[in-house]
Subunit: 460 residues, 2 copies
């Protein structure tokens, strides 16, 4: 295929949503239509196994999933391109003009802790519609859940101190940076440095200054004075040359003849943050500036934060970046989108040693004294004790209005749900897995579906 | 700040390029303008240290970097938002309407192998302009270089067999999936499953079928027959129930009474790919189908590919996904964007044990018998033997026309450059680092700049 001219719109993230899919989704869609296969299918999106470094995941990405399902269209650009591809007939491409996602969606709310095997999302729709959306749904839900799960650990490690997202520059592309800012907000981050994320999601934004700013001035003192003159509540970066001297210079500015300088914090971005934060604290306190905080950054993650907290470092806020925005210790989730029923019959793939769970499901979370004790994955409709996690969020392709939750509400819900997890599980260390069992009805359904799959495998 | 209503355009990746930045870039820009600091600065984008798992990096992302620099504007939406922020004055926001990047850019071409400390990109522009573009440049160049570097290893491990990008579903968001497809094309991948990447970049696309398609049919045979009837050169996924039986069914279809079935390959997505590919090959050969290939997938990376190649598994093509599109073994690069000169004077940050290299630079690569032997990072203009890697690619904010290289040319260049690396370095195992030294002139400049930085640090 010939190379198109550079399109500068494309350079900034915009794309044809309907074409953001694996080719086989479209060839399968055409095949289903040619075969007249239009019965309803159920697909389940879940994570097969948790990364070794995670005791739980925090569901995220539902808002983007639903927005996509609601507005997915094959417009003129998409159809024009598909028409040129040898795989697709003109009839098929013409009919795509009327394509709509008309199905139902059940999902755990964003911010819910989830475990291996538990559906984050179930889609019930005519099979072609349910299939063709797989790629985008997996792409968004996997990444956003990955980052929410990683970020929650930093928030817990910081023990209530503010945690800030500085991850944009090394996130995997623009979409990752923006979605990470949102996912981190859900799990309790206090601000992001990304202005577009602030605009789009209404997030608090924060920022300090770069080493380059200090370097470009004739002296650190001049740089500090110029910046502080511009901004109230300024945060001065004190480690460009010598950290202790930098702190003393910040102090001189806030207490000296330059009245009106409103210093809110100093930032340490390198070196031994424990030792340097203590020296900075001592210098600030001696100068009568107990309310001037100490923000630290530079390669932090939940383990570094926990070590600093354990040591009792006098740090006011943690700015985390790369390691959280790429989930560096576990940069992917073993997420899948599996057909579990077609035309009312449970379907499974035969995979030795893998749990096969046909049909629509519900997850029941049992609490003991307000603390989550175990989950049961059950057949939808099975009578099981506990709080059901999956909710109806879309019917006939339209979002249900009571599910339009604000980001603030999602964040509060996530915080509440995290508090209800067993305390051991909230550790950043690996602990005994949370108990997840399978309901008796679903076990029976599994046996039946596996038998049917064996027959289908043998049939000639 | 209040939460905006959901904007469905935003859900599909589009964003305000000027706001895709860390807040401090904009506060520094305002401060530079208020201070009247408009002299030219040099910033250098480089990777400080290579991940332990990489012997070299492959530069990528320049095309997007240049497109951004050329079209960067603060339009009405961006200005309207900034005007509401307490940090920014109306005068500053009004003046942003005229903002243009007017600087010069020097860069190594996409597809060039690079090493720690070597500039991928140097920006020379009035300091505010050069500073404010940092976030986007780092975001794009870091990720695309990360993926090109990871992907090159799979291509080398596959020893000339086709390698295919199936990574979209677990890439970190939409931008990552699209840019990864392009970066992997540069380093020799043969096709992608992502249709939008195919459209945007003119890439070959490929796809097979999903397990769900097989499961939805009454039998595997029916599923295969229906799919093969639709598509020429079809690839049948044979491991939904029993792999060997699946291969036999594919054979029956291609050799049986259903004339006209054009089977190009079978795909194995699970199990012992070495053993299963041998059995599949034997079955296909016995049936007189030596030209029907075997495509394998499922959690592959360069190490899995190398093991299969080493074992002599009769595999025709490798489809790789998650592990490559997230660079799972090294999901980030230690990339930085450092001020190295302002107003004609070299500037460095004092960092114990870190190499500080002021000013504009050039990298010279010396070849012995056509094989790269060592690189010298030198002061720009320093007379050093070897091929210079950095080229002038943008002048006064406009791309230089002879640098408009097609993607096909970049791919060929990358292949050629990889061939010219020392054979040991192309191993997927860790080897002795490639020799990179610093030219005498730059060493002298460094000493001088560090002395100046010490003075700046001491000045009161």
């Amino acid at each position: 295929m010939s190379e198109p001219p550079h399109d500068s719109d494309d350079a900034f993230g915009a794309f044809e949503p309907a074409l953001f899919t694996d080719l086989y989704q479209l060839t399968m869609l055409q095949s289903y239509e040619a075969e007249g296969m239009a019965a309803r299918a159920v697909f389940s999106l879940f994570v097969r196994t948790l990364p070794a470094e995670r005791n739980y995941l925090i569901a995220a990405g539902l808002e983007d999933a639903l927005a996509y399902l609601e507005v997915l269209r094959f417009g003129p650009t998409a159809r024009g391109y598909l028409r040129m591809m040898p795989q697709f007939s003109n009839e098929f491409v013409d009919a795509l003009a009327d394509f709509r996602f008309t199905g139902d969606v059940y999902a755990v709310p964003e911010g819910t802790p989830v475990f291996a095997g538990e559906p984050l999302l179930e889609i019930e729709a005519p099979i072609g519609e349910a299939q063709v959306v797989e790629t985008y749904l997996l792409n968004q839900v996997t990444f956003q859940t990955l980052i929410a799960s990683k970020g929650a650990r930093s928030v817990l490690a910081a023990r209530g101190k503010p945690v800030i997202d500085f991850g944009t520059r090394r996130a995997h592309g623009t979409d990752a940076a923006l979605k990470a800012a949102r996912a981190l907000h859900i799990v309790g981050f206090n601000a992001t440095s990304n202005v577009e994320a602030g605009r789009r999601y209404g997030l608090a934004m924060t920022g300090t200054m770069a080493h380059s700013y200090v370097q470009a001035h004739a002296s650190e003192r001049e740089a500090f004075a110029a910046f502080a003159a511009q901004y109230r509540g300024t945060v001065l970066l004190v480690d460009t040359y010598d950290t202790e001297q930098g702190v003393r210079r910040a102090v001189a500015l806030a207490t000296g003849p330059d009245a009106g300088v409103d210093l809110s914090a100093v930032r340490l971005d390198s070196g031994d943050l424990d030792a340097l934060s203590r020296r900075a604290r001592a210098i600030l306190d001696e100068a009568g500036l107990p309310d001037v905080g100490i923000v630290v950054s530079g390669g932090l993650d939940e383990h570094a934060i926990a070590a600093l907290e354990h040591a009792g470092a006098p740090i006011s806020a943690y700015a985390v970046g790369t390691r959280v925005s790429t989930s560096a210790d576990a940069p992917t989730l073993d997420s899948v989108y599996k057909l579990t029923a077609y035309a009312g019959v449970g379907r499974v793939k035969l995979s030795p040693n893998k749990l096969t769970m046909p049909g629509r499901k519900q997850v029941f979370r049992r609490f003991v004294d307000g603390v989550a004790d175990r989950d049961v994955i059950a057949r939808e409709g099975e009578a099981i004790d506990g709080e059901p996690l999956l909710r109806s969020v879309m019917r006939d392709g339209r979002r249900l209005p009571d599910e339009t939750r604000s980001l603030a509400a999602i964040r509060e819900y996530a915080s509440d749900q995290l508090r209800r997890l067993p305390p051991a599980l909230r550790s950043i260390e690996r602990v005994e897995p949370y108990a997840v069992t399978v309901g008796a009805g679903l076990v029976a359904d599994s046996a039946e579906a596996e038998e049917a799959a064996s027959r289908a495998g043998l049939a000639d």
